[in-house]
Amino acid sequence: MADWNHWQTLEMLRREIDKVFNETDSRSEPFFRTAFLPGRAARRYPLINLYADKEAMYVEALAPGVDPDTINVSVVVNTLSIAGEKRRVAGDVQPEAFHRSERATGKFVRHIELPVEVDENNVQADYKHGLLTVTLPKTEKAKPKQIAVQVSEESASTL
């Protein structure tokens, strides 16, 4: 027991607990998770959906009420970083004036590793209706190639 690594055990336990809360089981779709920055942990926020077609990957991040000036999107190789800040309420509001405070606010940063190579120079980001959509065109190497099937007469005749 001399080389027992307590920190590693603790870290594993923490991950197990996170897993239970996050429902990382890819088969179960996380319906109705529409919150932005829940109080529990800010590590995996904003929540994202990843879409793909032949030409590009699309990342849609749930970020209502984020100050557009603070949004910072950057791509390094195949890692996309999204950072920004959601401010509380415009103007100076005394804490006593609040009747309800349910919307989470704060700064956030998230790094997303993309499954394909993307063309860093042609990335576009669009913020509309509280959703941040980042379009990442695939590099030529990552695009699917159509392979023409050659039919040779000889093999066809032997059938």
Partner: protein, 131 residues
């Protein structure tokens, strides 16, 4: 700390509206409500809701916020962490709110409602005269 701050209830539980035609799933959007000198300000997070898809109504002292959220991304989903659903929430207003002068503003997925206090309940400064 804020005295009146109420802990956020479990607002992510889906609800269904009972209707004969169709069965839609709704969640209550999280809101911030604060009071100003002139009235109340309600902020609601409605990500994915366009102006055309949002309905704010006042019927018989009940303020209703209803929004339909839409994705606008092409391609097939490869990884999903959230689902955009429809939003629905109601608040009961009292006589202190001037229901004819409610303004709504939708920006960056956040709805801002200004509910103005009725004239008769506004604080009034009374001048004291020295006789």
């Amino acid at each position: 700390m804020a005295e009146k701050t109420v802990a956020a209830p479990d607002i992510q539980t889906p609800n269904t509206t009972e209707s004969t035609r169709h069965h839609e799933r709704y969640v209550a959007p999280p809101v911030d409500i604060h009071e100003t000198r002139d009235g109340l300000v309600v902020l609601a997070d409605l990500p994915g809701v366009a102006k055309e898809a949002l309905a704010v109504r006042v019927d018989d002292n009940v303020l209703t916020i209803r929004g339909h959220a839409r994705h606008a991304v092409p391609g097939d989903v490869t990884y999903r962490e959230y689902e955009l659903v429809n939003f629905f929430r109601q608040f009961e207003l009292n006589d202190k709110v001037d229901q004819s002068r409610i303004t709504a503003d939708l920006k960056c997925g956040v709805l801002t409602l200004h509910l103005l206090k009725a004239e008769e309940v506004k604080p009034r400064q009374i001048e004291v005269r020295v006789g």
